[in-house]
Symmetry: C2
Subunit: 349 residues, 2 copies
DNA sequence: TTGAAAGCGCTAACAC
DNA sequence: GTGTTAGCGCTTTCAA
């Protein structure tokens, strides 16, 4: 049981306190803590006893200042809420924990887009972490270049860079599978697209793939069947309603995110259009809730947790000096549940 | 545009580099950065120019070691994923950002429950943060006592402590409202409870309130109408199925979390029991998806984001030396959507 | 195997 | 208004 007050009258105990109590030098204490095998067993035991008796915890600022690694990884995300980031985050955490590393997270929402303050974000700050994973959605490249210049281990997620290792999804495979499934397996002829904001790169890309694959299947990718909105359920609902109201015939819908798809489920219900009887629906992400909508949502799985795992593994490799793969592309695949018209109507966890 | 290589051949520029370039002392540089108004405008401008030219970013480890505040808050959660923590987190973030503070997050999953390592978690480490918010679900009190002893600003969430400021929900109001609504407004006579693990304090408490309020309404709280499982959708589904299979009559269900309620929605569908026609359903949490289930879920709202906001505000107060309120109890209220049998069937965002 | 001592980069007295 | 200087707590050569 740690002693309440120790050698130094104020504040937490320091190496000096431990050293005094154990009758050794501060250097020896430090060695016991970092290179235990370089210390005689007897002294080691004595020092450890002193550490425990005082409840000594190393001051990590000092430790860092003196050049020791921090033993923690940083993760910078555009925001911290929402299923996608949440999943990504827990993937990163899983791997860093397994490696015995701490994890520091924060979002760039706090960042003034004008000023180059990324380096002062704790998870990107060398004083706090040994390396950083960044998902730089809307981050100016100047921010990133700055990081590169500092030459610290960094891995980018969902964004490529000429000098940094990158991990992203390849939406092509999954979207192709989705469209083919709709057209070839279920005979859809008019596949609409419920897209995101017109300035969201990921949405644009998925929409483009939707169009490409449609023509590849020999079906017209009618521009009037595309709706744009935000990534939210509410917008998904409104787009679905608008689509129905437009009067253009359609028999299937590809939504660029599960959130939009879930909103669409409501919009269609409201409009008296049944899924999947009247219209087939496929989402994107395979978010944790996708299996629990009614009907369960068929969706293109982009396993964010896996993305997080790989990114973390890459970062750890970079930190340890092993060369990280320059660019990792994770496959996406179609998860067939009920909203696309496939039989099973129960959830498949 | 910052210069690539600066005074010191290796590593990032330091105060010394800036001082040299601006032709002042390091103290002046430090002042410009921390107490700008204490410096002559002319020198200030010169220093700022030098800072920008070199792309200087203060080393926060050194800064901290020298006794300056870190300007960041720490948040420790049991885990980082899931809607509840996700919401809480973004509430904390919102307030800390507004206060110009950074936020450091990590989970206790990494922690060995045996050893007292909480203080070495970055968000609880004085070297990293000025104060910490902890949601200590399953944390031994010894961990917490340790923190108290260090005397650093700390606020606890969903757990009381004799010495620390605390912020929690009061489930009583919301559960009461829910049960009364079911019994008094909709005439339910047999209200079942789908509960969580038998060792989860929050679940136990909600179940107890369910029972209390039922008898208060003059209705029997039949023990055979209680099911226990985990907090997941899958378990919710199974509990619903088991409930139906049990053969005991019931006309309403109170689920201790939205996840369980969502699972129950599937279980009932599978069993051919319609919600709300055959059975009324109320959940707990008002998670972001609750408005988007079908039917939209009536639920006891425990606004985690608000909880986060209040906790952050309390912590900031404590850090600034203003006394934080010892114990804040946030009210929970019933959000009426469609699953309880109330009219509106569309989502209300 | 252990100790002495020199910083790491910054802030904050304290003088000027 | 500005400079000098002494640490903050730790790691790490370098000697012993």
């Amino acid at each position: 049981m740690p002693v309440l007050q120790s050698g130094s009258p104020a504040g937490s105990p320091t190496v000096a306190d431990v050293a005094r109590l154990a009758g050794v030098s501060t250097a020896t204490v430090s060695r016991v803590l970092n290179l235990p095998h370089r210390v005689a067993p007897a002294t080691r035991t004595r020092v450890i006893a002193a550490v425990q008796r005082l409840g000594y915890v190393p001051n990590s600022a000092a430790r860092r200042l003196a050049g020791a690694p921090t033993g923690t990884l940083g993760l910078v995300l555009p925001e911290l809420s929402g299923p996608y980031f949440s999943e990504l985050l827990s993937g990163v955490e899983q791997v860093s924990r397994a490696a015995g590393l701490h994890l520091l997270v924060s979002s760039t929402e706090a960042l003034d887009p004008e000023s180059d303050l990324l380096p002062s974000l704790p998870p990107a700050d060398p004083a706090f972490v040994d390396g950083t994973i960044i998902l730089p959605h809307s981050l100016a490249s100047s921010h990133i270049d700055r990081l590169v210049r500092q030459g610290r281990p960094t891995v980018l997620v969902e964004r490529t860079h000429p000098l940094l290792p990158t991990v992203s999804f390849d939406p092509a495979l999954g979207v192709r599978e989705a469209i083919r499934h709709l057209v070839l397996d279920h005979g859809a002829r008019h596949v609409a697209c419920l897209a995101g904001p017109t300035d969201a790169e990921a949405s644009i890309r998925r929409e483009r793939l939707w169009a490409q694959e449609l023509v590849a299947c020999g079906v017209e990718a009618a521009g009037r069947l595309v709706m744009h909105g935000h990534w939210s359920e509410e917008e998904g609902r409104e787009m679905a309603l608008a689509l129905v109201a437009s009067g253009h015939p359609f028999d299937a819908v590809f939504a660029v995110s599960d959130e939009v798809a879930i909103g669409a489920l409501h919009g269609f219900e409201q409009a008296g259009v049944r899924v999947p009887e009247d219209v087939l629906l496929i989402g994107f992400d395979d978010s944790p809730t996708a299996a629990w909508t009614r009907p369960p949502l068929t969706t293109v799985a982009a396993p964010a947790r896996e993305l997080g795992r790989v990114a973390a593994a890459q970062l750890i490799a970079a930190i340890e000096g092993r060369a990280a793969t320059r660019e990792v592309l994770l496959p996406t695949t179609l998860v067939r549940r009920a909203s696309c018209g496939c039989g099973a109507s129960s959830a498949d966890s």
